[in-house]
Amino acid sequence: MKKIIVVLLVLLLGVGTVFGSETPKVIKEWGDPVREKLAGTEIFILASAHPSINAFQELTPQFEALTGIKVNWVIIEEGAMYGRILMELAAGGKSINAMMVCPEYLFGLVDLDALEPLNKYIKNAPAWFDQEDIFPAYMDMLTGLDDNVYAVPFAGESGFLMYRKDLFDEYGISVPATCDEVLETAKFFHDKDLNGDGKGDIDGISFRGRRGWGMNWPWALMTFPFGGELLDPKTGNSRFNSQGTIDALSFLVEAAKYAPEGIESFGHYEAWTAFSMGRAAMLIESTAAAPLMEDKTSSLVAGKVGYSAMPEGPAGAYSGVWGWGLGMTKASNEKQKEAVWALMTYLFSREKQMEYLANNGVVTRVSGFEYLEKEKLPYLSAIKDALAQAAKLAKKGYTVVPRSPIWMEVVELMGTYGSMAVAGQMTPEVAAEVTHEMVQKAIDNNRLQKQK
């Protein structure tokens, strides 16, 4: 009997050591040689204020203690980040060692030969990093056509539909499954008087209508359910004049009629708050909005929201993936590159995913997803569906962010003319036609430049 107790105690102690210790042995084994080689190296990472980046900043002290590498997070505004990156690059790019990138500007940067392909690093990554665990769709969006991985994703999102479950139940409305149903439902809730005081209290639907980093998002998202194309995947030429693309814009212009006033200037902040403050019955937006909708300290509709995958258009139901990753600057020296990779290995690993999620990081891994499912969050199954819809799109050979080096310019053009259509300054047909013209011009210009 005594023997059994001793054995049990020893086992418990052993187990306790493994679970209770700060740094698992595996990581320490990895960390020590890194420390020998790179202690004292200082790296600068350009990023914008994002919940995931905040989470990484929380985890940074452990990393610094482990490896002796000094990490500097340079945080700037999302809208200005692109300009800053370009300036840095034009001046030689040596002061930034890693940068936060999204698929929209990734390929422009690749074109400028700014980023180091990470394939060789990933191949030699320790087992606890587990690259396979990262959602393939997210890895894919940061991989070039040449199969080079230019950035490791740390925050992924897709697009889906959010709606007021409570209002739908009250008025007996079923969740819209097609785009036409979405418009009908939006019309139903347009200017609806909920409390009988004669004044409209709510509107049908909210989304981004703002120019700049704004309405290009819903336009790109809706293009595919309507059977349109953005750029031809093979030739890279503009397909903004395709009927489906025009129809997608018409859909948005129509939906804008049933949207809260001011929709033509709604960025994603306004679009999200319109819904979270109870002024719109539906929201077609990024999955990243979901946690905020459920946050009682800032959302009036927490607990009343239903989530569903994208509605079906004439050509089917599709969604897309967007997100952020970290890329390694090519102009850094060897030591800095190794240090950046060490940081990426540590922060983005499977091992650290739980801690990262606990610090409000955005889920990017299958294992992270499974972990969250235990929390029974209401939006997880819709996210899964949306990812499946995005995969369906990828299978057809399309992405919501085409791999074009001038995509940022296209975004600005889409945002400008699309916003003019939403604001009523021009019809969707004209807007799409002008966008097509300008985009093609930009593409041609870029090709001419390349030839020189």
Partner: protein, 276 residues
């Protein structure tokens, strides 16, 4: 000594106008300051929330998580030093351009103006390269010097205007009395334009305090000033209005203090009568 007696009614009307104007200007500020003490859900409420229980979370967040104090310190050092330097250099230049008739004086004045009118976006690129080669990126010195490109011409033009409002006879009288030519601007003119000098100092300081473009591109982490830190509030998922208003409130404080300290110089110079 005011000889003119203003009729009471006119006084009252003027006073009313000022009060209404003041209210219009201050209501948004008041709203921002009070919002610094609100919880997020109250910020977006419509109709706006006027009565609420204040919380200090936003300030705590700004200080702890966002380390606002560092940025404030940088802003104070850069703005003050650069403003003083600009005025020190600009005053004699303004005097020379205002008083001394020489060929090409007007052309020179316009050249200063043109140099100042280059949009910062164009200048920042060149500064970036130069600073890089001198290893001055991300230093406060760099900003202090860079800001002068705008500050000096600006101050010259403002001060020139004020100097030209002072009759030249006063200076000539001093000259006849045997005052040293080179000292006249400092002994005679400077005290007379004190309100103008103070006004210019305030404007230059405020502009430097709020300067964004140069600070954004020329700093990384050490010399980051307050305006650049506003990016911290625009996260991907939400705008942190609370901490932003808290920071805005805090960044208005040094300027207010500065103004309150020097406000007595805003009064008409008492030495006027002494000349006659």
């Amino acid at each position: 000594m005011k000889i003119l007696e203003i009729r009471s009614l006119t006084r009252v009307l003027m006073g009313l106008f000022i009060i209404v104007a003041l209210l219009l200007f201050l209501i948004p500020i008041f709203y921002m300051i009070t919002s610094a003490f609100k919880k997020p859900i109250e910020t977006f409420a419509y109709p706006p929330v006027w009565i609420f229980r204040p919380v200090f979370d936003n300030f705590i967040y700004a200080f702890q998580k966002l380390k606002i104090l560092n940025y404030m310190r940088n802003s104070i050092i850069v703005a003050t030093t650069s403003a003083l330097l600009a005025l020190f250099v600009a005053f004699p230049a303004a005097y020379g351009l205002a008083r001394i008739k020489f060929k090409g004086r007007n052309k020179l004045a316009i050249i200063f103006l043109m140099l100042q009118s280059i949009p910062t976006i164009a200048v920042v690129f060149a500064f970036f390269f130069l600073a890089r080669s001198l290893s001055l990126i991300d230093t406060r010195i760099l900003l202090i010097i860079a800001y002068l490109y705008w500050g000096v011409p600006y101050a010259i033009w403002q001060l020139r205007g004020y100097i030209m409002s002072i009759p030249i006879e006063i200076e000539e009288a001093a000259l006849i009395d045997g005052c040293n030519q080179l000292l006249i601007p400092y002994i005679i003119t400077l005290p007379l334009i004190t309100p103008g000098l103070v006004a210019t100092a305030i404007l230059v300081f405020i502009t430097f305090w709020n300067e964004y473009v140069l600070a954004f591109f020329l700093t990384l982490k050490d010399a980051v000033t307050l305006p650049v830190s506003t990016s911290l509030f625009m996260t991907h998922t939400e705008i942190l209005w609370g901490p932003m208003f808290a920071t805005a409130t805090l960044s208005a404080l040094p300027v207010m203090v500065f103004v309150l300290i020097i406000r007595k110089y805003f009064v008409r110079s008492l030495t006027y009568g002494a000349i006659k």
